[in-house]
């Protein structure tokens, strides 16, 4: 009961759902962890992180901001969904190797899809924080 009351109070706080959304975008699974959904948060973090790391290990490409081909812009938008992972990858110059193997394209797609899945997870955490999603 006390947990429900505090959850309702947090939901009424206007800034908390926004904080959950931003945290969930920056760190995969963090939004659910903030809402004390430990197992869901852990699974989301492990899944998205694993996809991102596997993508890099397959020599996938990290897109930089561009105004070129439409698909390049969309891929950049997808990459941006990874939050801090994307920023760290750019800082450490990861994902810039020239494509030399056929599976590198799979790696690129893994990274983009990891970002898109992170956006879905962040929106889900926001819905939980606002009470739009029941549990």
């Amino acid at each position: 009961m006390a947990t429900n009351v505090s959850a309702a109070a947090r939901a009424q706080s206007s800034s908390f759902p926004t904080m959950v959304l931003i945290a969930a975008w920056l760190i995969p699974g963090a939004g659910h962890l903030m809402l004390r959904k430990w197992i869901r948060g852990g699974l989301l973090m492990a899944s998205i992180l694993a996809m991102f790391v596997i993508g890099l290990a397959l020599k996938g490409k990290i897109y930089s901001p561009n105004t070129g081909d439409l698909l390049d812009i969309l891929n950049f938008a997808g990459d941006l969904g990874n939050g801090l992972l994307y920023i760290l990858a750019r800082i450490f110059d990861l994902g810039t190797a020239a494509v030399q193997v056929a599976t590198a394209d799979y790696g690129t797609k893994f990274i983009v899809v990891a970002g898109l899945l992170n956006v879905i997870a962040a929106v889900d955490a926001h819905s939980l924080a606002t009470g739009r999603k029941r549990s």
Binding site: L43, S47, I48, I54, F110, V113, L117, I120, A121
Partner: protein, 58 residues
């Protein structure tokens, strides 16, 4: 790192299904069911599409 095409399919399907299951359903039991459903659709759809491509080629 090297990976087979089917290995990539399995990994992609596994991780995407986990996220879909958690985000698209409310109850833990339904999450597991929907995640399994998505995994089967991902892998089954890929195998079916592969056979279609093989049939077109032959």
């Amino acid at each position: 790192m090297t990976i087979s095409h089917f290995g990539a399919v399995l990994l992609f399907a596994l991780f995407a299904s986990i996220v879909f299951g958690i985000t698209q359903r409310s109850e833990p039991r339904m999450m597991a069911r929907f995640g399994a459903f998505c995994f089967i659709l991902f892998v089954g759809g890929t195998i079916a599409a592969s056979w279609v491509m093989w049939l077109i080629k032959h």
